[in-house]
Each structure stands twice: as C-alpha cells, then as structure tokens.
C-alpha cells in the first residue's frame, strides 16, 4: 500500500472544506468511493476527483500535494493516522483532532489546531493567527496534543488554550497566550506586544526577554530554579524540532499574571 495522494489540480477560486478527507472518515473506502466524495467549495459541492488527482490507497497515510491556503479543515477531528501536506494549508488545520499527526511543509492560515484534544501538528513554516485557540465565542481552546511551528505564529497564539503544548521555534505574534487557561507555550524567538493578556493560568516559557518587555499586569516573582523544567526539556528530546536540541535550563525569572484577572499564569524567562 502506498500513501493516498491527493494532488490539487488547479488554482482554487473558492475555499474548500476538506474535513471528509481524514483517515477516520476514509476508512473502508476504496479509491472510487473517495473520488466520488463531495466537498463543499463556496456555494458548490465538487467531487474529490474534480479537485485532486488521486493515487495510492493507504487511507491511514494521506498526502496532499500542491496544497493551497484555500484548503480548509484538513485533518478535521482525526483520531489516528498521518497526514502530510506539501504546500500551504487553509484555516482550521487539525481542528478537533484527538490523535494521529499532521505535518506540513508550508504555512497555515488561521485557527491551526483549533480546539484540538490530542495528536501532533508540525508546521515547517509559519502559522496564522489563533494557533491552538478556541473558536470565536467558545471558551476552551486546545485541550491536549502538541503543535510545533518551525517559523512564526500570528496573533492570539493559544487564545483560551486549556491544556497541551505549543512550541514555536521562531517568533510569536501579539497577544500570545491571551486568555490562556492552562497548558504551555514555549517560544525560542521573540514575542509580540501584550504577552499573556488576560491570561488565567498556564505557562509561557521564553528563552529571552521579549523585545517589548513584560507588561505591567505581570508581577515579578524573582529568579528561581524550577524542578519541572528538566522534565519538560527531557520530553522535548524525542520531538523532531529545534526544541530537542535546546540545552535544558531550570533557572528562570518568573512573572505572574495577568493580575487584572486571577493572576495565576506565569511567564518564565531563561536567565
């Protein structure tokens, strides 16, 4: 069996909802069944084979080639298997996923890993706004799993995040960790303004002081050696990420906030 490969045929005029194309939903279907599946695109529904050249037959290993930022909902609610995306991906990549893994060579649009519960997403590029966040009007963002971004993320990374981990090898945009409930966001690069805005709990782990400093609604708790950090860095060692190569540290400056709210979140900065 070889990977089920879906090669996008043309430039898309409208966005396409790819949520039916997951290992779970394609289980038991042969290539003819998959070709006949209809995808919502704008006001139309189009069969898969009108949008993609199809080859291979392993539905647990799905490959999108020539992918576009207009392909939304890839990996929607998947619980197992592997999706590889060559190119960019649209909004809601890996939304609601509970297991399996997604790897993309390009960039993603907004709401990557939105409300995901488990599994792993690796973005070998940049991610848009609201990585690991909750949908507008919803209270809980991602509740498990790992998102690795080798590039930068947009604004509101981890908005309403409740559990899980977001590892950013580049820079994070404004309002990183906003309204965060729990979980961990680690950033090797810089972070934008309003870090941890309205953060309730959770950890923002930085390797250097942000360019814009720490906002006034975080209080300095001093420098500390924290025992959980070596465990966390040890857990990074198995990841295909720069985080696996980061020399672990446990000495940090700790800031607690957002004191405009319950103030139980923390920003930890390597010292």
């Amino acid at each position: 069996m070889s990977a089920l490969t879906l090669r996008l045929k043309t430039d898309l005029a409208q966005r396409v909802d790819c949520s039916p194309l997951t290992p779970d939903k394609l289980a038991g279907k042969d290539v003819a069944d998959i070709a006949a599946l209809e995808l919502v695109s704008g006001r139309l529904t189009l069969p898969v084979d009108e949008l993609f050249d199809i080859s291979g037959d392993d539905v647990n290993d799905i490959r999108f080639e020539n992918s576009s930022v207009k392909l939304d909902h890839i990996g929607h609610a998947m619980s197992q298997g592997h999706i590889t995306i060559e190119g960019d991906a649209g909004a809601y990549l890996g939304q609601f996923m509970t297991g399996g893994n997604i790897e993309i060579t390009g960039n993603t649009f907004i709401y990557t890993g939105c409300e995901m519960k488990g599994g792993q997403i690796k973005i070998n590029g940049n991610a848009g706004d609201f990585v690991g966040a909750a949908r507008s009007g919803y209270k809980n963002g991602m509740t498990g799993g790992i998102i690795i971004v080798t590039g930068n993320t947009g604004a509101r990374t981890g908005d309403h995040m409740r559990r899980g981990m977001i590892l950013i090898e580049g820079n994070a945009g404004e309002y990183c960790g906003s309204r965060m409930i729990s979980g961990t966001i680690a950033v090797l690069g810089d972070v934008g303004k309003h870090l941890g805005y309205a953060m309730k709990r959770g950890t923002l782990l930085l390797t250097k002081m942000p360019q814009h400093g720490i906002t006034a609604n975080f209080n300095d708790c001093g420098s500390h050696t924290l025992a959980f950090l070596p465990l966390m860095f040890a857990s990074f060692k198995k990841l295909d990420s720069q985080f696996a190569n980061v020399e672990g540290f446990s000495r940090v400056q700790r800031y607690a906030g957002d004191v405009g709210g319950i103030g139980m979140g923390e920003i930890l900065i390597k010292i």
Binding site: G164, S182, T184, L226, A227, F228, L231, M264
Partner: protein, 300 residues
C-alpha cells in the same frame, strides 16, 4: 538437605498477596534524598500495626531519576489498594513534601494501568497556587513551598505483590545468628524488587497467629523461642540458642524466590563452623497465604 553443615528444613515459608508500589524521591543530593526516604519508610515494619510495610529498595544515580538528580527508590506494600493509597498519601505529605529540595515520582507502571494518588491530593497544600503540568502524558503538580517548589507526580502505579516471604536462621549464639542475618541481608540488598522491612532487615520477634489474650491477633512464636525449650512444644534442638528471621516483601513470587535463595546461601556460607545450625521458615500450615516457598526446592 545440608549446605556447608547447615541443615535446611523440609518446610516452607508462607506468604500472602499484597498491593505494592515503588516511589522515587530525589533531592539536591543523595543525603537529603535519603533523609526523606528514611522518614517515608519509617514505622513500616509490619502491616500488623504499621498499616504498611516499606523500605528503601536502593539508591539511584542521577541518570536513573526523572529529574536527573540523585534519588532513592522505595517500595511500599499494604494489604489492599485503599490502605496503600492512604499510607502513600500521608507519608508523602509528612515526609517528602516537608523535606528540603525533594521531588516525588512514581517508579512503577501499575497492573493494567492501576494507579493510586501520589501528589494528587497534596496539591491542595498549595492553597490555589499549585500548578499542574502534563509532561509526556503524565500529570505533575508544582506546589509552592518555602524553599521553592515541590514537584510531585500525580499518581503512582499499583501492582499485585507478595508479602511475608521469610526464613529463620537458627544459630548456637545470638552474635552468630545476627552475623548470618547481616550477611544474608547484605547479599539480598543487591537484588531489585524486594525489601526487608524490619530494622536492618532482621526481626527477632517472629510471631504466630493468635494469642491466649483475646485482644491480640498475634503473639510470640514460642516454638522458636530458645528460652522456652523446656516449657513449650519447641522446634529447637538443645544447641540452638538464638533464632532470627528475615522477612521479605517483593513485587512477585519469583523476586522472593530469588531473594530467599541468595539470602539463605549467604547465611550458609558462614556454615556450621560459625555456629549456624539450621535454616527454617515460618508458616501457618498453609492456612494464611497462597504463596508457599519451599526451602529445599528453592535451594535445590
């Protein structure tokens, strides 16, 4: 059967099922890990009155511990999961949480994922300032304390275990019996998955089931008390002046089998020339426990 002039009785040790777990205590250095582990395993010689049986299994190099600091592995056993959970929680709260620089981890996977709380309820000591962290699928709690943060894993695994494996060393004098016990315990301490919960690994007050006093469930094993040779139905020959027992708890019957073999062998190496006359074992006619350790089969 005779080994180096020491007679091995044709009898068996009788042991019973227990629930057990292994916990790992780490600290800034081994000395402080040992302080905490010693306290954690204190007053834990016998379930008869301590509620559990516990001891230090071995020390751990930094490379063997979850947080890369020196550590100590402890085994703790109780008659059931609930009792074990209560003992682990209270001991962790009073002896590890309180100990400077300590951290507490599970050292074992439970049978079919069975777990009991380790730091799960200790977190409330944090008075709302505690922080949960999921790392590699395991939950940890960071509890703010006066020396920094106490890190503890939320749960530890529970495994079906065996308690009460034992053998008796019968010698011509008290010093000789003790010397043989010391040699046996030293050899057995090299083995994993077992503990000898009594002080120094040795118990001099072996018990029998029942008593002439209604309030007591156990009383002195008069058949093996040398001063009662003329007063009771004694198991001792005239030349035996002292009997000491080594009790072994282990994670499996095989672990205890191996420990008994190693321990008896070490005692027998001192031999008759050093006053070691017999090796026997404590049993209750097979009525107390389903695990029987036949001495001659073990030493065959």
């Amino acid at each position: 059967m005779i080994i180096n002039g020491v007679s091995i009785d044709k009898t068996f040790a009788e042991a019973f099922p227990m629930k057990g777990t292994r916990i790992i205590i780490t600290a800034q250095n081994l000395e402080w890990a040992m302080h905490s582990a010693t306290a954690f395993t204190g007053f834990a010689t016998s379930v008869i009155a301590c509620g559990c049986e516990a001891a230090i299994e071995r020390t751990l190099d930094p490379s063997e511990t979850p947080d890369g600091r020196p550590g100590v592995a402890c085994l703790i056993f109780a008659m059931g999961g609930k009792g074990l959970a209560k003992q682990v929680e209270t001991r962790a709260g009073q002896c590890v949480l309180t100990s400077p620089t300590s951290a507490l981890f599970s050292g074992i996977e439970g049978d079919d994922g069975a777990e009991i709380a380790l730091g799960k309820n200790l977190r409330f000591f944090g008075d709302g300032y505690q922080i949960s962290k999921m790392i590699d699928g395991k939950r940890y709690w960071r509890i703010p304390v006066m020396d920094g943060e106490f890190l503890t894993q939320e749960n530890t695994g529970v495994v079906s275990s065996v308690g009460g494996g034992n053998f008796l060393i019968l010698a011509e004098s008290q010093p000789q019996a003790l010397a043989a016990c010391e040699a046996a315990v030293k050899a057995m301490k090299q083995l994993p998955n077992i503990i000898m919960p009594f002080p120094g690994g040795v118990v001099r007050s072996g018990s029998k089931v029942g008593s002439k006093y209604k309030a007591l469930n156990a009383s002195t094993n008069d058949a093996f008390c040398p001063t009662l040779k003329g007063q009771t139905k004694s198991e001792l020959s005239p030349e035996v002046e002292s009997v000491m027992e080594i009790v072994i708890d282990g994670l499996s019957k095989e672990d205890i089998d191996k420990a008994m073999r190693v321990g008896i062998q070490a005692a027998c190496e001192l031999g008759a020339e050093n006053g070691i006359r017999r090796i026997s074992a404590g049993n209750y006619g097979g009525k107390l426990g389903p695990f029987h350790f036949h001495l001659q089969e073990i030493m065959a």
